[in-house]
Amino acid sequence: MADKKVRYLKSIEIDTKAERYCRFRKKGFKYIDYKDPDFLLMLCNPQGKILPRRLTGTSLKYQRKASQAIKKARHLALMPYVADNLN
């Protein structure tokens, strides 16, 4: 398999000195709304896929909530399952 790359949970510290933080924890979010597709788009790539927390820095607790919210939004056709150019 050509796909057998090693994946790190944290980005490797080469040229990346920027502090990683969880945006939900920092801003004191308690609940992530599935009815707000514009906000949830920030956690998706241009194809509408959910970004991994290794890229966004979200903590596990909130990544779980965010992914559930995105999936609910998709069910209600507020967000696409597949897209071409989102962001």
Partner: protein, 136 residues
């Protein structure tokens, strides 16, 4: 009693009367099952992110309601049988969700409030006679 939030999408084919009639049906269903509606929000005609049943738009409606958990299943069965409904989603609301929904409602109320407050102030002098009695 638990609190639930249901969002459903109706076909864009319906007229405005049919939309209110459909919503009324579900409102009545909740009350008939011993529950009550807490809040309602009609989002109106919205574009869907992807076509459902070959429709690209739909009337969105949100109902926040309270009832026993046993009412959820018949409520959803009602949606499944209804041809006018494209999609629905019922969510059980936990405490953070309720707090979020209420704070959001307060915000939208506050925008409309200043006019209401002005009216209340005008009414106050006439009601002064009755208020001391209420306090006592």
């Amino acid at each position: 009693m638990n609190r639930y939030e249901t969002v459903f999408i109706m076909t864009p084919v319906l007229s405005a009367d049919q939309v209110t009639e459909t919503v009324e049906k579900y409102r009545a269903f909740i009350i008939a099952n011993g529950g009550k509606t807490v809040h309602e929000d009609a989002w109106g005609l919205r574009k869907l992110a992807y076509p459902i049943q070959k429709k690209s738009t739909g009337f969105y409606h949100l109902i926040e309601w309270e009832a026993e958990g046993s009412a959820v299943l018949p409520f959803e069965t009602e949606f499944r049988r209804d041809e006018r409904i494209l999609r629905f989603l019922t969510t059980a609301m936990e405490k953070h969700h309720i707090a979020y929904a209420e704070s959001r409602r307060d915000k939208s109320n506050r925008k409309a409030e200043p006019k209401q407050e002005a009216e209340v102030v005008v009414e106050m002098p006439a009601k002064e006679a009755s208020t001391p009695e209420e306090k006592a």
